[in-house]
């Protein structure tokens, strides 16, 4: 039994009412939020992501840029995902790994993991994000603990993006060197969540919603939040992400938080997002998160195009990936498996790093040490 649960706060809100407030925000609301000297409330955040704030994007950019520089300096952190498995028992209507999709299912062996490590290390990475589908038999907690054991000597910082687990499972993994767990809610629209996730353990909305609480109680160092932008109204989903973030900050005060911005891209099955988000929308959202919370880490992946990433990385983002492969074994040249989603920025890590440096930022590969935990 959890001591605290976000669901108590979440249940006080209705999706429709939140949408209503977002779309009825006025210029005055936006100005009030932008000129506030004290900490912003979730209501202020609503104004910043509203259509009314579109005209204030230049001011938002300025504010987001300077808050980011003040807190994070002229630096950019780099991380890379490593897909360990594409086995999955869930049906997710938007995902390439979905149970019904006919594709070769692969789970990396020890040797294959070591091959991936060699390629990734040669790129200069120290921060790694381990990813799997959800299959508690083939890639359960024991497989993941074993994988972390193999990977830990080679990397300073290990993150995980896999199925939500029980608190005691997280407690088991942390001493192996697990630092960060990313769990995206996909959407906070409870009713429609069930239509996107009709089968498998993932269809349990509340179990997923309380994952961050289980992580917080387990004492994890960092939790990553996010939604699949475009699945449902991206503004309402982002409001709930901000609400979740604020709740977690107050409840698990020793934990760091990050927010990612996975915008729906074509996967196998040609899923059409209900509320497609433009690049300009995404920039507005990134700035809104920064102004709402100057300490939160904001991450931008290779789902976005090189042009867009190069244009906006300094306006609020604190960590980026580059050279990513989203199929298990992809780095060492395994061509059998299918990727989870399409990579838009295919430049090498050194090419991306060079662009970041040329704009006056130090590229930070290492910002954690195994000795710290």
């Amino acid at each position: 039994m959890l001591k605290h649960s976000f669901s108590k706060i979440f249940n006080q809100y209705s999706w429709e009412e939140v949408c209503n407030r977002i779309f009825h925000s006025t210029e005055e609301d936006v100005n009030r939020a932008l000129n506030k000297n004290s900490k912003l409330s979730p209501e202020d955040f609503i104004a910043l992501i509203s259509p009314a704030a579109k005209n204030h994007l230049p001011e938002m950019i300025n504010k987001s840029y300077s808050l980011t520089r003040k807190r994070f300096g002229n630096t950019m952190q780099m991380y890379i995902p490593m897909y360990l498995s594409n086995e999955c028992n869930n049906v997710c209507t938007y995902c390439g790994f979905s149970f019904g999709n006919k594709l070769p299912r692969i789970t990396l062996t020890d040797d294959e993991i070591l091959n991936e490590i060699a390629v990734i290390k040669a790129m200069g990475y120290e921060h790694i994000l381990l990813v799997t589908g959800e299959d508690n038999l083939k890639v359960g907690v024991d497989y993941i603990a074993h994988a972390i054991e193999i990977i830990r000597p080679h990397f300073s910082h290990i993150s995980l993006e896999v199925q939500p687990m029980e608190k005691d499972e997280y407690e088991k993994l942390i001493p192996f060197g697990l630092n960060t767990v990313l769990v995206y809610q996909e959407t906070y629209h409870e009713l429609n969540y069930k239509t996107y996730h009709p089968k498998g353990k993932k269809s349990n909305f509340n179990f997923r919603l309380e994952t961050a609480d289980r992580l917080g109680e387990a004492g994890i160092h960092k939790i990553g939040l996010g939604v699949l932008l475009g699945l449902e109204d991206w503004r309402a989903d982002s409001f709930f992400t901000a609400l979740h973030l604020q709740y977690l900050n107050k409840t698990y005060w020793q934990t760091k938080y990050s927010v990612s911005f996975p915008r729906l891209r074509p996967a196998e099955g040609a899923f059409k997002p209900k509320d497609p988000m433009s690049e300009k929308d995404l920039l507005q959202l990134i700035c809104a998160f920064r102004i709402f919370d100057e300490n939160v880490e904001l991450s931008l992946s290779t789902r976005e195009s090189p042009t867009f990433r190069d244009k906006i990385f300094e306006l609020g983002i604190t960590s980026m990936s580059a050279g990513s492969k989203t199929d298990p074994g992809g780095y060492a040249g395994n061509k059998h498996a299918l990727e989870q989603f399409h990579i838009s920025d295919e430049r090498t890590p050194s090419e991306v790093a060079e662009v970041i440096r040329s704009r006056g930022y130090e590229v930070v590969w290492k910002d954690w040490d195994a000795v710290m935990q």
Partner: protein, 258 residues
Amino acid sequence: MNNLIIAGKEFSSRLFLGTGKFGSNELMRNSVIASGTEMVTVALKRVDVWKEDDDLLLHLQLPTINLLPNTSGVRNAKEAVLAAQMAREALQTNWLKLEIHPDPRYLLPDPIETLKATEELVKLGFIVLPYINADPVLCKKLEDVGTAAVMPLGSPIGSNNGIQTRAMLEIIIEQSNVPVIVDAGIGAPSHAAFAMELGADAVLVNTAVAIAGNPVAMAEAFKLAVMSGRMAFENKLVTSVNVARASSPFDLSLLDIN
């Protein structure tokens, strides 16, 4: 100006510089040089201490510079002691800036764990400089367990809000038998000068230099401000705190003693 002495070691510069947040390691190095500092802090988590060609450490290979590794990232005394031992082994220094901030947002130091870790580290032979809130009682307790200096904050780290803890800093400075280094919150040369005028033995600056339009020139501005503040302090600055002394010596014989 008098030299600063910490644990028997003399420093002619009273400005310590942090090495985070710079746009490049080269810019960081040039700022270190321009600041005239002899003591720079290095976050252990940022460097690979076992790698001979760690880029950040390579840029700090300067004859006049002492490295002060910090434990930023640890959340309790136990983790801090482990990190300190690694730093000593790898960087060949027993000097340590002890930072224990379980709160990852404002990076505010944990007084209980810091006291515990200081006591343990001193026993293990470390020269400990703990980052703390501006708490006069904690400073005295740290002295009791053998701290080499105290590093109270002026305002939250990275805030650039200046010396907001003035009343507490004045008590700490008045009572301290170890050097007082004001750390965190110093956002402008005037803040640094003010801390030095109050009688701080040194200041530590990072963000204000690292993200300035021209970090190298800003480093020099801080160097001058620290010198000027210290000179003012050593030469008995007339402040609103002190009662002004008459400009010519008072002639007691003028008094009617009856």
